[in-house]
Symmetry: C2
Subunit: 319 residues, 2 copies
Amino acid sequence: MAVYTQVSAERIAALLADYDVGTLVSAKGIAEGVENSNYLVETSKDRFILTLYEKRVDADDLPFFLTLLDHLAERGQPVPPAIADRNGRQIQQVEGRPACLIAFLPGVSPGEPNPAQSCAAGAALGALHGALEDFTHARPNTLSLPGWHDLAKRCGDHLDDIAPGLGGTIAEELAFLDAHWPSDLPRSAIHADLFPDNVLMLGNQVTGIIDFYFACTEIRAYDLAVTHAAWCFGDNGTGFDAERSEALIEGYESAHELSSAEAAAMPVLARGAALRFLLTRAWDWLNTPADALVTRKDPGAFLRRLEFYRAADPEIFLP
Amino acid sequence: MAVYTQVSAERIAALLADYDVGTLVSAKGIAEGVENSNYLVETSKDRFILTLYEKRVDADDLPFFLTLLDHLAERGQPVPPAIADRNGRQIQQVEGRPACLIAFLPGVSPGEPNPAQSCAAGAALGALHGALEDFTHARPNTLSLPGWHDLAKRCGDHLDDIAPGLGGTIAEELAFLDAHWPSDLPRSAIHADLFPDNVLMLGNQVTGIIDFYFACTEIRAYDLAVTHAAWCFGDNGTGFDAERSEALIEGYESAHELSSAEAAAMPVLARGAALRFLLTRAWDWLNTPADALVTRKDPGAFLRRLEFYRAADPEIFLP
């Protein structure tokens, strides 16, 4: 969460001249999202986010993300599409990086979501899935079960430096998921990273769903499992929040009903979701210097979620 | 340039409730200014900057800075005053840090100022000095000649790790300044850090002067010397820019004339200004891990300015 690439006001003004969006009034580098550089740009007409894609986003994936956003925006979903310049181009080159000028959406991300906000987030995810039923583009999920194996292997013995026994727990969980991961559930494009950070709200209303840079083709109900792991636990060790959980599932089902097979798979999918973030956080933990300005997110938060899901009553996923 | 302290939307909304500024619509952490945490906050009524003061700003100095900003804003200077809450308080506590809600000013900082922008910046500095003539509060400058000696001593032999011979050059320069630093020039509150980063412009008009957190009581013409060192050199090794220099001095004198004693002292003051930034950058260089996300600013840029000023024709400072 920092600005990796500095872009001068002159460069931003020159970029805006290719668009029909007014002239530059203000530009502030913002600390937001995955590892991209973002500027909040105000023009004489409107506000925008200028995103420069750093190494974590593969430029070859950008057309998929932008097509997805256009598809959703056309269907009235609260997502920020990339603006096209006068020549119809959405992707530019700025300071040697692919870059997009993106619609600005109002709203703030809840720090500790209340049940009404969790319900709204669930409903927004359900509506998103509904709007994606006729979306035909595909992008493989590099962070699926084989990817988790690969990450665990690359972390190797260092996992135990994070917490004693962590390597063993992860190996055991991978074996469980190999045996139980569902293979016949409906698949679609999913957000795959719908943390509260990526939902903008005014009060209890969702005004924006952002940061689609992990979007991929995956078991659709896995998206709900990720969202469950992301929303239904107090960040400060307060653990599982049954009220948020119930509200999230209810909200989702109000917009997009789970099949009985999907509902039955939720406990396994949730374990997979917890493991996915445990592994990527563990990897980042082991590969981020302790004194770097990016805050290393605690892998332990997702180890505790995984442990919760291993012991949880499957009923928590029923509306 | 990063957000050091995370503030939740809930905390920002609660803070705004103490003010008569509308309700929270958007909040983005912005990468700006000295080592503070800044949020660009939009409400239903207006936009603001929420600044949390991190360790580099001494909380005891805040009343001086805020009084200075109020004084300047009352006199029509384009500075962003801190907003008072319903109880008249400008300084709050947010996440354990002193914090202020500050007026938002439009405009962007020029990356490579043109002569017209340099002229406008000079005129804005002159107008600032004019408006400060009746300002009576004082704050000592910790980065004056004794402070430079102290910094050089603390950097010690490591200076030569930055550039061979740098320690010797600095010792020599300190001896020169000890012998020639003026003692009888007019003093006043000064900005002391008026880099292009700290000037907001729309086209060639100054719309904001920001980041007063080095403001102090000092030889007034030293502020022009700092601004000269900050504005009149191409950043990419292109060296001294005579056009910008001429424009800056002309602009300044159009708003606030230098006395002949001040004009005569400019070559020495400019050497001091170059040394000040050379030393603080050298210190930061030696004390910032190479892989930290804050970009270490190149001390060499100010070594080259110092070398330029040592050899420069004093006439460059005459309008």
